[in-house]
Structure formats: structure tokens, C-alpha cells
């Protein structure tokens, strides 16, 4: 594949590819809002960085991610320019903000340290931090992962809008500043594309300066070099090269910049290792504290959940009863944006496992329905002070009617009481701890004010 005309054609193909993948992302997002779709978002499911959070990582789970890594090894960092939904969004922002940037005197293409930033992007260090904090309660992934941001933007959350504003601000300085300097997924693909089979190359140059328009700053025309770890294969300008110097082909020999390449390879490794060191330290410092938050059904270990949860909040969006809520800072930094349960007006449906089905990396384990129905979320505690049966001597029985557990986790002891001259049979409720799974339906439906039965996360977890 070479020649200017072919490169121009690739540009058109890329446009369609981006449109298709953006549509696919939005479709997957919209479908995932329907609890009956029980859809795992394929963009998250196929993601290599997210795949690293699977426990255990089975070959079947890893396969799609490996396929994408292989793609980067063969073609280069094309994911960013052709598939990534956030990339499409950034490119679309450029349609609006590109003209402004070209007038901006502070645009990065004119800044002397910009080439160094592009050559040794902080994203590599961030990738290192991220890799080492994947198994720590501090999930750096949540703040850096492009697809999770895409989801936040698609769900029109305030956080998503804030990020969109940040992207718009960055667009005033360079077209793909997020992708070149911050995105760890991009950095991962970039590292692989250094070794990729196909590469974009600049073979002759007339020093026209067109390359300054490169969205990622990857085309360094003064050195007749294209930085493989930054090139997202956009083909937006190559066909306009007056020297017709661009070739996209497989390499022939080491090339003139072999020594340079070795040096940068070493430095990239150092960046990654430095980040990993920082990540290791951060991961150590950050200890998760028991928050006492009720987690979605099936989550047994809080620590493991905090390590795995991507904070994508897909469960919050998909839950048909709307009881899964996003956690703010009330659970500490390590629980930020994790899901927790807050019952009322409904509890956790006994015959529903939508959250388990949509969780992209099974942080909420995907169980068999029977298993889910036996796994405790917490345990219900009855307050005799508030319960109308104990307090007012009224027979209520709502709790038992709604209890979905086989044979009911709430029993009652009949008690004969004299009330206004006649004998009344009062059914005093109590929770059978061994049966209660803490689904919270009793809490949600309790007619007393204040609610007399509440689910809490006390005692050891039962399987």
C-alpha cells in the first residue's frame, strides 16, 4: 500500500470506520440502558487494559483483547484513529475548534518543548502507574480510561460534561493532546506499534511545514521521521505532501534512525518503569477501608471489588429497579464512583441479575441465578422500637409477604395480647439470619415511619 492516491483513499475509509464505530458505541450504550438487553458493552469487553482486571483471566476472556493487541502489532496504533469512540469525539470537536486553534498563538505546534513532549509522552508513565495500581484499591484506570470517559459523556453525566470541557480546552492547543500525552490505552497501543509490521514512513521532504498539522505531532519532518508510537494513522495530510514522501508499508531494514530508535526505546522503558514504581508506591499507600456500603448482588469481597470495579457505572444505568447508586466521597477516595445499593422504593429483585450481566469485567461476578439468590448482600435488622407490631400492637405482615426467599427469611412468633377488652393474636416478626440475603425488599416496603427494618453489612459474608 503506497502512493499518494492510496493514502487519500485510506483517509476516506477511516472516516467511515470512525462513523461506524461511533454508531456502534452509541448503539451499545443505548441498548445497555434496557435491562432486558443484558448487554456487555463490547468496547469495554474487548479492551486490553480492562482485560487485565479480570480475575481470573481465562483465555476466552483474554482472546478479544489479544486480538486488538495483535492488530496494533501488525498495523500500528490504528485503534486510536479508526475505532476509539473518544477519538471520534475529539476529531469532531476539532471541526469546531480547529479554526480557533490555528489562530491561537499558544498552540503547541509553535512551542519549542512540544516535540519532546510528543516523543516522551507522560502517557507512558501513566500507563506504568495504571499497570501497577490495577490490583490496588486506588483505580487510576477510572480517571484515565478513554472508554469509561466515553461512557460518562454518553450518559450525559456532569462528570462527562466536565471532561468534554477539558477536551475542548485541550483542543485549543493541539488536536489530539489527550491521545498523545495522557491516554494510557493509547500509550499501550503506541508501545506495540513501535514494533508493528506496517509503518508510516517519511522518505522525502520539501520542508513545506505541512507536517505541523499532524494531529499527534508524530511527523517530525526535520528528521524525516514518523514517531510510530504516536502515529494514529489518520492519513489526513499525507496525500497533500508536495514531495510525495509518505509511504505506509512494511519496513525494509533498520533505517537511518536505528541508534536514535534504540535510545528512545530505552527512555520509553524508563518512563514506563518510573510510572510503575510510582504506581507501586501509590498502591501501597492506598489501603482500602471497610466502607460498610452495600454492594451489588454477588459481590462477596469488598477488597476484590474495589480492585476490579472500573467505575463505569454501567450497573447504575442498567438496574431496572434503580437501587444501584454511584458513590461519592462518602466512602473515601477508594470508593469514588463505585456502585452501592440504596433501597427504596424497591429492593434488589430476587429473579434479576442485570447488574451481573452488564458488568464489563465481572467485578460484580456473573453467577447462576440460584447462586445469586443465595449470596448475601447484607443482613436485615429489625428495630423493635419502630416496628408497628411491637410499638403499636398492629399486625403488619408486609415484610413477610414481600420476602422473596424460599420459605421466607422472616418468621413470626404469635403472641396473645389483650387489647381493649378482647384478645388479639399478634404476630411478632423476627429475621431468620441463616436465610436472609439482605435484598432489602422488606426495607423498601416497610410501611412504618421511620423504616423499622434495615439491611446492613454486618458480620461475616456468607456464601
Amino acid at each position: 500500500m503506497s502512493g499518494q492516491r492510496a493514502l487519500e483513499k485510506l483517509r476516506i475509509v477511516r472516516f467511515f470506520s470512525q462513523a461506524i464505530f461511533l454508531a456502534a458505541f452509541l448503539y451499545a450504550f443505548l441498548r445497555s440502558l434496557d435491562p432486558f438487553a443484558a448487554l456487555e458493552n463490547p468496547f469495554l469487553r474487548w479492551d486490553p487494559l480492562i482485560a487485565l482486571t479480570y480475575r481470573p483471566l481465562t483465555p476466552a476472556l483474554a482472546a478479544p483483547a489479544l486480538l486488538l493487541l495483535l492488530l496494533a502489532l501488525v498495523l500500528g496504533r490504528c485503534f486510536c484513529g479508526w475505532i476509539c469512540p473518544l477519538g471520534v469525539l475529539i476529531d469532531s470537536l476539532d471541526l469546531l475548534l480547529g479554526p480557533l486553534r490555528r489562530k491561537n498563538p499558544a498552540a503547541l505546534a509553535r512551542v519549542p518543548w512540544y516535540p519532546a513532549l510528543v516523543r516522551y509522552p507522560p502517557a507512558l508513565a501513566l500507563l506504568g502507574v495504571l499497570l501497577l495500581t490495577l490490583a490496588a484499591p486506588l483505580q487510576v484506570l477510572q480517571f484515565l480510561h478513554p472508554h469509561i470517559w466515553s461512557l460518562r459523556i454518553a450518559s450525559l453525566s456532569p462528570l462527562g460534561f466536565a471532561f468534554l470541557a477539558l477536551l475542548a480546552f485541550l483542543a485549543l492547543f493541539s488536536r489530539r493532546l489527550w491521545c498523545t500525552t495522557l491516554c494510557p490505552l493509547g500509550a499501550l497501543y503506541g508501545l506495540l506499534s513501535r514494533l508493528s509490521f506496517f509503518k508510516l514512513r517519511l522518505e522525502s521532504c520539501s520542508a513545506c511545514g505541512l507536517c505541523d498539522r499532524c494531529p499527534t505531532g508524530a511527523a517530525v519532518y526535520r528528521k524525516k521521521e514518523v514517531l510510530a508510537h504516536q502515529c494514529i494513522l489518520c492519513f489526513d495530510y499525507e496525500h497533500r505532501c508536495p514531495a510525495q514522501g509518505f509511504r505506509y508499508s512494511f519496513p525494509s531494514g533498520g533505517g537511518p534512525a536505528a541508534a536514535e530508535s534504540r535510545r528512545s526505546f530505552f527512555l520509553h522503558g524508563a518512563q514506563l518503569a518510573g510510572g510503575a514504581l510510582l504506581g507501586g508506591v501509590l498502591g501501597r499507600l492506598w489501603s482500602s477501608t471497610g466502607t460498610g456500603l452495600l454492594r451489588p448482588p454477588g459481590v462477596v469481597s469488598e477488597t476484590r471489588f474495589l480492585e476490579q470495579c472500573l467505575r463505569c457505572l454501567q450497573c447504575v444505568r442498567s438496574c431496572p429497579t434503580g437501587i444501584i447508586k454511584a458513590t461519592g466521597l462518602e466512602g473515601g477516595w477508594s470508593s469514588l464512583f463505585t456502585p452501592h445499593l440504596s433501597f427504596g422504593p424497591e429492593g434488589c429483585e430476587y429473579n434479576c441479575q442485570v447488574c451481573q450481566q452488564v458488568c464489563p469485567n465481572h467485578a460484580i461476578p456473573l453467577q447462576r441465578l440460584r447462586e445469586k439468590q443465595l449470596t448475601a448482600i447484607g443482613i436485615a435488622r429489625l428495630s423493635q422500637e419502630h416496628c408497628v407490631v411491637y410499638r403499636d400492637g398492629i399486625n403488619c405482615l408486609v415484610y413477610e409477604e414481600f420476602c422473596p426467599v424460599l420459605d421466607k427469611a422472616i418468621a413470626f412468633s404469635p403472641l396473645r395480647v389483650r387489647q381493649g377488652g378482647q384478645t388479639l393474636l399478634l404476630n411478632q416478626p423476627r429475621v431468620i439470619d441463616s436465610r436472609c440475603i439482605g435484598c432489602g425488599i422488606c426495607e423498601a416496603k416497610c410501611p412504618a415511619d421511620p423504616v423499622a427494618i434495615r439491611v446492613s453489612k454486618t458480620g461475616p459474608q456468607r456464601g
Binding site: P35, F36, P320, T321, E346, E349, Y350, N351, C352, V388, I394, N395, C396, L397, V398, E400, E401, F402, C403, P404, V405, L406, D407, K408, K445, C446, P447
Partner: protein
């Protein structure tokens, strides 16, 4: 055939025709309760409704009908916490055979309505038969209207679904099952789905409340799904082991008599169920001594 014979036949048949017209065979009123035993649910429904006078007795051409099944719990149909979708479908189908103008199917669910309508299979079955399935979870003036209940003991007034109040016929299609607080849930208990009140509070006086709501709104026809009756862990159930195969469909023009008939399937005296005893006292229907007819498929 000779001419004389022909005339004889003609005269005989005309005589018969005239007597039939003057003294129709259906002069005796149909029984209050019809019980059909048989494994074919849909045919059992047809037969049971036939026994109590046929669908035409309850649904007139152009009528607006509300079919009120039990869609309370998000439990798959094979666990029988909700009415069999086939029963609902057949009842809706019969309504349209009687040339009903519109048939509404809904219930105010206990579990999440979105999940329950789908899981129970009823929304789909009812739509297949041509019914309009409504979501009635939102308690608003658009959907509910307060009515006074003369003779009500616990409920002096209640919010009732407007579709029920405006309908020409209300067909109550419950499932027969065990119920933790009211012992059994049958036709009268099923009427809790037409109210917009805070039903949790009703539980403090459940039997009075159930009989009061049936005093306020009459079911014109009750079709009880007793194909499998849930014996324990109701109303949610959860295990096939708690079901007893009884293969019975009960149709009745009186809801209390229908429930009394179903209670006997559980081996319980109707008077032992609080709200049924009250129904007898409040004059909603007879618990015994009503006319009944039984058939097998």
C-alpha cells in the same frame, strides 16, 4: 319421500321451532360457579366460562373490558406466583369473540413493573390476543379516581383505577396460591391491584380492606387459575416442589363464591379465610349453597 311424510316432517319441525321460541331451554339460570378439570388450560377456560353462561353473558358487543390478572411478582410463570399467561390470553380472546371494543390488561405489581410484566409472560400473551397492556404504577389523577365506599369498614374511600370504573365489564383472573398474611390469595385478594392506595398500610387490617374493596368494585366474572396451586412460601413462592397439580379452572359470576370454591381445593373451609368470612357477612357473595356445575375435559 312421499308428500305426506314431507308435510309431517315440516309440521313437526315448525311446531318444535315455535315451542322452542316460546319456552327456551335456557330458561333455567346458569350456575354461579363452574368448575372444569382438565390438563388443557385453554379449553378448560372456554368450558368453565361456558358453564356459567358463556362470555356473552358478561361481555356485550362494543363493551370495554378490563381483564385483571395477578401480575404481582417478578417470578417466572412456571413457579405460579402469577396467573398463567395462557389463561389470560384465552380470556382476552373470548372477550374479543364476544365483540368487545377494547380489552385492557394490567395489574399494580408488587415487584418492579417493568420486569414483572415481561417475566410473568402476561404482557406478551395479552398483547398477542389483542389486549391493551397498561402500566399503572404511577398513582396520579390521570389514572386513579377516589371513590367513596358505602358500607366499608376499614376503607371508607379508596383510589380506584379509572379504567376499572369506566369499564363495562371487569374480569378478575387470579391465580390460586398460598399467601403468608391472608392465608390464600384468590379473586378477592387480586382486586388489590386496582387501587392506587398505599397497600402496605392495608396490611394492618388486611381482611377488612380486601372485603371493602370488593364491596366497592364488583368483578363481573372471575376466572381462577388453579392449574397448579401453591401450597407454601406464598405469595412469592419460589419452588416447584411447593406446587400441587390440580388442573382446575374455576369460573364464577360471583367472586366470593369463586374463592370459596378455590379454598376447598386447598382443603380449607372458606370461613377460615378472614376476608372470605367477611365477604359472607358484608353480603358480597355466598360461601356455600351457591349453584355450581362441574365438568371434566
Amino acid at each position: 319421500m312421499r308428500r305426506r311424510d314431507f308435510l309431517k316432517v315440516m309440521a313437526g319441525s315448525s311446531l318444535l321451532f315455535i315451542t322452542r321460541k316460546a319456552f327456551p331451554l335456557t330458561a333455567t339460570a346458569p350456575p354461579v360457579v363452574g368448575v372444569v378439570r382438565g390438563a388443557d388450560v385453554e379449553r378448560a377456560v372456554i368450558k368453565a366460562v361456558e358453564l356459567v353462561g358463556g362470555i356473552g353473558r358478561f361481555v356485550k358487543p362494543g363493551a370495554i373490558v378490563v381483564v385483571k390478572p395477578n401480575i404481582a411478582w417478578n417470578v417466572p410463570p412456571q413457579l405460579k406466583a402469577t396467573t398463567d399467561p395462557l389463561v389470560v390470553r384465552m380470556v382476552v380472546h373470548l372477550c374479543f369473540q364476544a365483540r368487545a371494543a377494547k380489552v385492557y390488561v394490567f395489574d399494580r405489581t408488587c415487584s418492579n413493573p417493568r420486569l414483572t410484566y415481561v417475566t410473568s409472560g402476561i404482557a406478551r400473551a395479552a398483547r398477542e390476543a389483542g389486549a391493551t397492556v397498561l402500566e399503572v404504577d404511577e398513582v396520579s389523577a390521570r389514572l386513579y379516581q377516589p371513590i367513596a365506599i358505602p358500607g366499608g369498614v376499614y376503607l371508607k374511600e379508596s383510589l380506584i383505577n379509572k379504567r376499572v370504573l369506566e369499564a363495562d365489564a371487569l374480569i378478575n383472573v387470579p391465580v390460586a396460591k398460598h399467601h403468608s398474611s391472608s392465608l390464600l390469595t384468590l379473586g378477592m385478594k387480586n382486586m388489590m391491584g386496582i387501587t392506587g392506595d398505599n397497600r402496605q398500610k392495608w396490611h394492618w387490617q388486611l381482611h377488612e380492606a380486601i372485603s371493602d374493596i370488593n364491596l366497592a368494585v364488583r368483578s363481573h366474572l372471575t376466572v381462577i387459575d388453579a392449574t397448579f396451586i401453591m401450597l407454601r412460601s406464598g405469595p412469592t413462592g419460589g419452588s416447584k416442589d411447593y406446587l400441587k397439580k390440580t388442573d382446575t379452572i374455576i369460573a364464577a359470576s360471583n367472586v366470593a363464591s369463586a374463592d370459596a370454591e378455590a379454598a376447598r381445593l386447598f382443603g380449607k373451609a372458606p370461613e377460615s379465610i378472614g376476608y372470605l368470612a367477611l365477604a359472607g357477612q358484608k353480603g358480597i357473595g355466598a360461601l356455600s349453597g351457591y349453584s355450581r356445575e362441574e365438568a371434566a375435559l
